[in-house]
């Protein structure tokens, strides 16, 4: 029977055995006879060449069933999701140091866990498959391990010392996977080095049970995995390192590619940007909306003299003395405007971020300023508003980066993550064009307030009545001075951030009087 027919016959049984996982019908392809299966976007594809080769040694149905058991167990138990995959890889890398070997170690570990789970909890012909599979040096060790921990004879030659160490690892205890993969990697590190050398000579580098790349995950799963990884497990440095290790594969998978068709290489994936993006996605900063409604029609705004050829309907009869005569008759100039109405909306926002020497370099350590600004920009973008960025260090001396109003997240993060590291001074004249470019935008300023021209900044902010959210990092006398000077302004809200948990407490555009109702 050909594999397609076998799949048709046994798929319902296999699905039932694994409690009906949400996986599409498996496929068969004419692939390499050395690799059993491929997992792509939850799609299991069995290589016909491999099937035919093994089917000479064991029952053809059992071959397919074993391969499906193996593939499904990866989805239902280990790694389960991309976040776990990343975590396991990061732990393996910590021990092995080399990227490719760590990937191989993580893959082998996931195979051992998935297969052992399957053998213990399901009726599976997997052991028989391992008996007949062609094995390299490391595969032979893994087969010896299976022999030891499953209690079946797979005909593998045992390396007593190595197998005894590997057999002590609690593979099925999910809570211990981080430690377990470290132990696993410590033992097989030398074997992987030897295998690499052997493979280099023979040109064979394929895992018989398939590689564990990113193909198995959808872009949404990758996104979620990165978000969880940034939030739960690691700091900036380790995230960057792991991200760099997967960069090529992520690019191949199409992750982070914005826009649609076109030509050109595309922008490179920036690990720092992705880190802050993923971290910011875990926070939701609320924005207070303002009563603003864009009516979308023209309103009378000012007068101008009527000329022949201009429409009569715009004539203001009251100021024209009832006459239609050039020089006397006045017409209305009409403009479209936002007028305060019943509907509430979110205005655009100018983010002013300090990247002077006293601030944390966002590319070296977690910068609360960048994370705070990132959360703020996300909040405005989510509300269909646009964001402009003014990143400053010693702005009059050129330490600045300005981004006009945009809704492109990558561009915004690119400017937010810029670090100048010099002195701290704001060039207030440069804020005017931004303030004029949008309808009364909100201002979000995040700094440690150690600004050399703080007096001028306070004076400038006192002259405008836009909603201002001022966030200061850490406590110092400058922040106190700023706060005291601006305290009476009802359009300014202050927040202090000392740890990342303070960020969700920020309420953007909170005007005290808006709540107090004493307008």
């Amino acid at each position: 029977m050909v594999p397609e027919e076998i799949i048709k016959k046994i798929w319902p049984k296999v699905r039932k055995k694994h409690l009906f996982p949400e996986i599409p019908n498996p496929k068969v392809s004419e692939g390499s006879e050395n690799v059993a299966l491929e997992l792509k976007n939850k799609q299991i594809t069995i290589n016909a060449g491999f099937h035919d080769k093994i089917a000479r040694k064991m029952d053809a149905e059992a071959v397919v069933e074993a391969l499906l058991d193996h593939g499904i167990s990866h989805y239902t138990f280990c790694p389960w999701d991309f976040h776990t995959h990343l975590r396991l890889f990061a732990e393996a890398k910590r021990v092995i140091k080399d990227k490719d070997r760590a990937k191989r170690a993580a893959g082998l570990f996931m195979d051992v866990v998935a297969d052992t789970h399957c053998v213990k909890r399901k009726k599976t012909p997997l052991p028989e498959l391992y008996k007949h599979i062609d094995k390299g040096k490391v595969d032979e060790v893994i087969a010896s391990l299976y022999q030891r921990i499953w209690g079946v004879d797979l005909g593998a030659k045992e390396d007593e010392g190595v197998v005894r160490r590997l057999a002590r690892i609690p593979y099925l205890d999910k809570k211990q996977w981080d430690k377990s993969i470290q132990k696993f990697s410590r033992v097989i590190k030398v074997l992987l080095e030897a295998e690499e050398e052997q493979d280099r000579q023979s040109g064979n580098q394929e895992n018989p049970m398939g590689e564990h790349g990113l193909d198995g995950y959808t872009l949404e799963e990758i996104d979620q995995g990165l978000r969880d990884f940034a939030n739960k497990d690691v700091g900036l440095k380790e995230f960057k390192e792991t991200f760099e290790d997967f960069k090529e594969e992520l690019k191949e998978a199409g992750y982070g590619m914005e826009g649609g068709m076109g030509r050109g290489e595309g922008s490179p994936l920036d690990a720092d940007l992705i880190y802050y993006m993923k971290l910011a996605e875990n926070y939701s900063v609320p924005i207070k909306k303002v009563p603003m409604e864009k009516r979308g029609h023209l309103n009378p705004h000012s007068h101008c003299p009527w000329e022949i050829g201009r429409p009569f309907q715009d004539v203001d009869v009251w100021t024209s003395f009832g006459k239609i005569m050039p020089g006397i008759t006045q017409t209305w100039n009409k403009i479209e405007g936002s007028t305060f109405g019943e509907r509430e909306a979110v205005p655009d926002c100018i983010i002013i971020i300090d990247s002077s020497g006293s601030m944390t370099n966002p590319r070296k350590n977690l910068s609360h300023a960048v994370l705070g600004a990132a959360c703020a920009s996300d909040a405005y973008l989510r509300n269909d508003a646009e964001v402009a960025v003014y990143n400053f260090s010693d702005a009059p001396m050129g330490g600045k980066a300005i981004l006009d109003f945009t809704s492109e997240r990558t561009k915004i993060y690119g400017i937010l993550c810029k670090y100048f590291g010099g002195g701290t001074a704001l060039n207030l004249n440069e804020l005017d064009p931004l303030l004029k470019a949008s309808e009364k935008p909100d201002i979000f300023i995040i700094t440690d307030m150690k600004i050399t021209n703080l007096g001028k900044v306070i004076g400038y902010l006192n002259t405008i009545d836009n909603r201002i959210t001022a966030v200061y990092i850490g406590e110092n006398t400058y922040a106190l001075r700023f706060r005291e000077a601006m305290e009476k302004k009802k359009n300014v809200s202050f927040y202090n951030v000392t740890k990342k948990e303070d960020i969700p407490k920020i309420v953007l555009g909170k005007i005290r009087e808006y709540f107090q109702g004493d307008l």
Partner: protein, 233 residues
């Protein structure tokens, strides 16, 4: 209407016993015994949470450790795992490197295997006093760096350190062999009575040696070209 859960009625989670279960169970029991033994040693020896390396304190701690480790069976892999347990604070509340080193040495001296391989490269802390009183017929190979007092009082065994060792390595050793592939600290072989110390890299300073041999990069530096004690080279 068909109950959607009908399909699961007949399903029973089939969990078969595999050898891994018993291996893990026995490993957990052994580790718990080893950890209890260490805690007992700390209780008796480190009441003030301070432990000074002195001749009598080392002997006293070792005697107690001997008594403790004789009470249970364990293997060489358990010793390595215990070293990593010491390094993390999950199960063991604190690591005091002196008694910990004595305890690990005792475990090595009384384990059934003759050759003990410890991969300690990933330890955050360096273990002191490892190899204390290693007897004839035992060989301990350590992958990674060790701390002070490595291989002191060696009694005929062989200690191989694939890395660096710190000060007082081989102090008071009676016989046997210490091989350090990289560098070694000050007071090397202090009051050494016999045996050999081979250092692949540099010996930072020699101790007052009574008898025995010290080699640096395959060249005999004691007794032939005797160097002044604790002189920096």
């Amino acid at each position: 209407m068909k109950n959607p859960f009908d399909d699961f009625k007949e399903h029973r989670m089939r969990e078969r016993e595999i050898p891994l279960d018993s291996i893990i169970e026995s490993r957990d029991t052994v580790m718990s015994n080893i950890i209890k033994g260490y805690e007992k040693l700390l209780e008796e020896e480190v009441k003030e949470l301070v432990w000074l390396v002195q001749y009598n304190t080392v002997i006293k701690a070792y005697t107690l450790a001997e008594k403790v480790v004789k009470e249970f069976d364990y293997r060489a892999e358990d010793i390595e795992e215990f070293c990593y347990e010491l390094d993390s604070t999950d199960k063991i509340p604190y690591l005091i490197t002196g008694p910990a080193g004595i305890y690990i040495s005792t475990l090595c001296n009384y384990v059934k295997e003759e050759e003990i391989y410890l991969k300690l490269n990933d330890l955050k802390t360096q273990i002191n006093l490892l190899g204390y009183r290693l007897p004839v017929g035992k060989k301990v190979i350590v992958e990674g760096n060790l701390g002070d007092f490595t291989g002191i009082g060696l009694e005929g065994g062989e200690l191989v350190v694939e890395g660096n060792a710190k000060n007082y390595t081989g102090a008071g050793m009676k016989s046997g062999r210490i091989r350090v592939t990289k560098n070694i600290g000050l007071h090397t072989g202090e009051w050494m009575m016999g045996g050999e110390v081979f250092v692949g890299g540099r010996v930072r300073g020699m101790g007052k040696i009574v008898d025995g041999k010290v080699y640096e990069d395959n060249k005999l530096i004691y007794p032939r070209n005797y160097r002044q004690s604790n002189v920096y080279y």
